[in-house]
Amino acid sequence: MSPRIALFSHYRRHPLQLAALAAMILLASALWTGIHHLTSQARTSLEQSERAVAERQQLVREDGNPVSVQDFVNLRRQGLCVMPWLEVPVPGRGRLVGIDPLAAHCFAEPGHTPAPWQGELDGKPFVDISEAAAQASAEASALVLLVSQADGQSPPPAGYRYQAFAVAPDTAELGDSFLLNLDALGVLVLLITSLLLRSVFLLGLAQRRESLALLYRYGVNRSQLSRLLLVENLLLALVCILPGVWLGRALSLVLADGFGQALEGLFDRPLYAGGGEDWWLPTLTMVAVIVAACLAGVRDSSGPLLTRVQPAFFAVLLALGLAVSLWAPTLIWLFLAVALVFLAAGWLAPLAIAGVVRWLARNTGDPLIRWRLQEIAVLVRRLALPLVALQFALALVLAVHALVTTFEDTFDQWLGQRLEADYYIEVPQGADITAAVSWLAAKPELVSPELWHQVIRGRASVQAASGREPVPVDVFALGPVSHLVQNWRLLAQTETPWQALARGEGLMVNEQLARRQQLAVGDRLIVRLGARRLQAPVLAVYPDYGRPSGEVLVPASLLPEDFEARFRSLSISAGIEEIKVVEAQLARLWHTPQLTVRDNQAIRTLATDVFDQTFLLTRAMTTLTLILAAAALLLMVWVFLSTRAWYFRLLIVWGMPQRQAATQLTRVSLALIFAVLVCALPLGVWLTWILVQRINPLAFGWSLPMAVYPGFWIELAVLALIIGLSIALLMRLQLRRPASAPESAHGLQGGER
């Protein structure tokens, strides 16, 4: 028999350990591949939409109707090189973009010989428009007519105008932050899975110590043994990783539809089908993690894990991590702080639990209670890695839940305030808004003067009076300052900010601008609005979620004549009959057959639905991580208990009824899991704080209120109860199985203390 067969014979005798290791590799590969696939798909989509359509223009109809195939034909007959761009949603795969390969030649770079169509534009894959058209439905697909750069220089044909073609406004920073969060989640999942893999491997290794020692005595040297273990684990990894990667991709496809909606809703970036096709990266990453997890410190692994650590060192590490998290000026520093705190918390939690139960055991006079407490200490030590993985997963779930719920609540409230008016009317380009405003002001019996206002958006630059460089900002001008805005939640304010704004005595700034320019209420700003330069104090800071740009809120009366308005609208709260009258009168005033009137409630419902979908995805990911950690713990518990069952059965030998013995074990398992939960709670609360108060301001420019949701702690406690009861059930099953007596009463036979 070769050493390889001798070594592997351990798994013949303990197939459960092999199954546990294989299941862990498979599940870990699946989870990480799923997250990686979604993230890379999102990244590909963002890059595609940014690069493929860079600096392009489209032709749109002046009458506001969508362009059709007939428009394409008309424009081609006029000699314009326009390219049809058809976007078709594909359920489960995101969105397909079809283009006309013949027209794509118009977009070739000057001096470049047109190459035959190969399904690419700017190096990105697209499909032939016929393929996209075959999958298109009238209501969901959208046709766009792109015009080449050369043709875009000449005046547009009659009845058409040029419009910049961008899949989204400039939200690169926000998109990057979103991807950064997904990447961070992926890294945390990888950390948790590597902990689980190492724990399964170490348990197996500890139980193979005698076999390894025997082979060593027979002349197989240490490097040979290490090589054999490496080969064994690589073989196992290769067998299990590929189905895991396949499973992960299947998982990501299930989530992709919701993810695509989320991405599109959040950033107006369609999720293109075809991104993230790579198999090799997840496979190689998992191989690397498995090799690292299984071979790191093989020679030291035979000793109890916790005796090798220095609690004081990790306490210092924890304090350092917390201090860095308070100070961190950039995201990199913040992530370093998170890594330090997780590392220290992971080492300290088992030590703390073991220390507390040992102290309690020393101070109890009841030998049965002492036995229970000491058993908890043994379980904590033996199952330290899967317990820490569970602690991390619980903390992650808690933090993500708090973040998502806070965001939902805050966003909902904010959206409600922003969409306070019942209706929103777009002012057509070139229309005279002054006439509309005068007419509305003269009709208080139709629309109350407090329940409507005009909104003018544009650009300006602001400079702190203290002398910083001017920075470009968005302008949000209101006139009159109606009651519709006066319920806005303000982060900081003077005594009567809205009245002061209405009188033109100052302006308000959004949170992003206040943070970046370190502005506070009362600070004076120099604002350039077109040709006008005004100096005004900051009256309030208002929250402005979901975008990174800085913004100033000014009364419309302060805007100069030459202010270039990029967008104008009217917000009106009125009854259905009244709004019909308003709509008809405005259409007359503006000489347009039809106005764009939007029901704000419908917009709010749509936005809420999109966010719900996003958060469903985030919760699904974290819940899957928790399920993986719990499943791993249960597998490890089963394997460990098989060696410990003899000692549990001693209680029955000593006359304790089986039910009572099982109750004792249930107490042990529940106390263990609740101890882990107690360790996870502060970590989760801290992580929540990091996400809402530190990462968000650094990455997005705005923060969320810190909330901890103790109600959810109860949900987590119920979850912990289920995990604890599952462990207790496994213990009961072990009690019922005939346990063979250990050959000796030492640690490897389950007889450790």
């Binding site: 030998p367 043994v378 029955i652 030998v653 000593w654 009824p657 250990p742 009463a745 640690g747 203390r753």
Partner: protein, 227 residues
């Protein structure tokens, strides 16, 4: 109290091994009175441990009649279900003492705490735990854990756990099997001395012919097993 501590008649026990039924005990009859001792001998796999497990209720007898300390526990008049489990638990708590070859102690408790726990489960006063350790010559080791003492010291502690419950019957499965000869003799001496002094019964499964010879009765199970 009945004089017959053990009354076994026509006991058979089979195990399923794959498709096969393996008979471990066949039509066995055993009787043991107060103060008597019985050695179960035979090669490995002959059913010694199985019979001990049946006698302490950890395994059910396949067929036959079984009465322990006058209480019918299998066959005619025996309780069933929860009543049977309760009867066995009550017996094991305070009337039966069980000693295995090793691993008789909870590894997470000190020797003293092991004995205190055993006394508590038997409903006995646990203040005598230290005395029992003293009587068995390991009084100074009470605060040590099982992995901090020798195998002989562990078996002495196991005897202390048995005698702290003042049992009527001791069931010992190779109690000296893992000890060197000199320690084994010492532990055996202590076992027989305490058994004689307390007048309890003793059933001893052993490979050691000398040890078996010290028992009043011997039962060779060598021809019991077979498919």
């Amino acid at each position: 109290m009945a004089d017959n501590l053990i009354s076994v008649t026509g006991l058979s026990k089979q195990f399923e091994s794959g498709d096969q039924h393996v008979t471990v005990l066949r039509e066995l009859s055993v009787h043991l009175g107060r103060g008597e001792s019985l050695a179960l001998t035979g090669p490995s796999g002959s059913g010694k441990s199985t019979l001990l497990n049946v006698l302490c209720g950890l395994e059910s007898p396949g067929s036959g009649r079984l009465a322990m300390l006058g209480q019918p526990l299998a066959g005619d008049g025996a309780p069933t279900g929860k009543a049977l489990e309760r009867a066995w638990c009550e017996l094991r708590q305070s009337r039966l003492g069980v000693v295995f070859q090793d691993a008789n102690l909870m590894p997470t408790l000190s020797l003293l705490d092991n004995i205190r726990l055993r006394a508590r489960l038997a409903g006995r006063d646990d203040t005598s735990a230290g005395n029992w350790l003293q009587r068995l010559g390991i009084g100074e080791l009470g605060q040590r854990y099982p992995d901090q003492v020798s195998g002989g010291q562990r078996q002495r502690a196991a005897l202390a756990m048995v005698f702290v419950t003042r049992p009527a019957l001791i069931l010992a499965d190779e109690p000296t099997g893992s000890l060197d000869r000199r320690t084994a003799e010492t532990v055996a001496d202590e076992l027989f001395e305490l058994q004689a002094r307390h007048g309890c019964g003793l059933v001893l499964a052993t490979h050691d012919a000398d040890l078996a010879a010290r028992c009043l009765h011997q039962l060779d199970l060598g021809h019991q097993g077979g498919p």
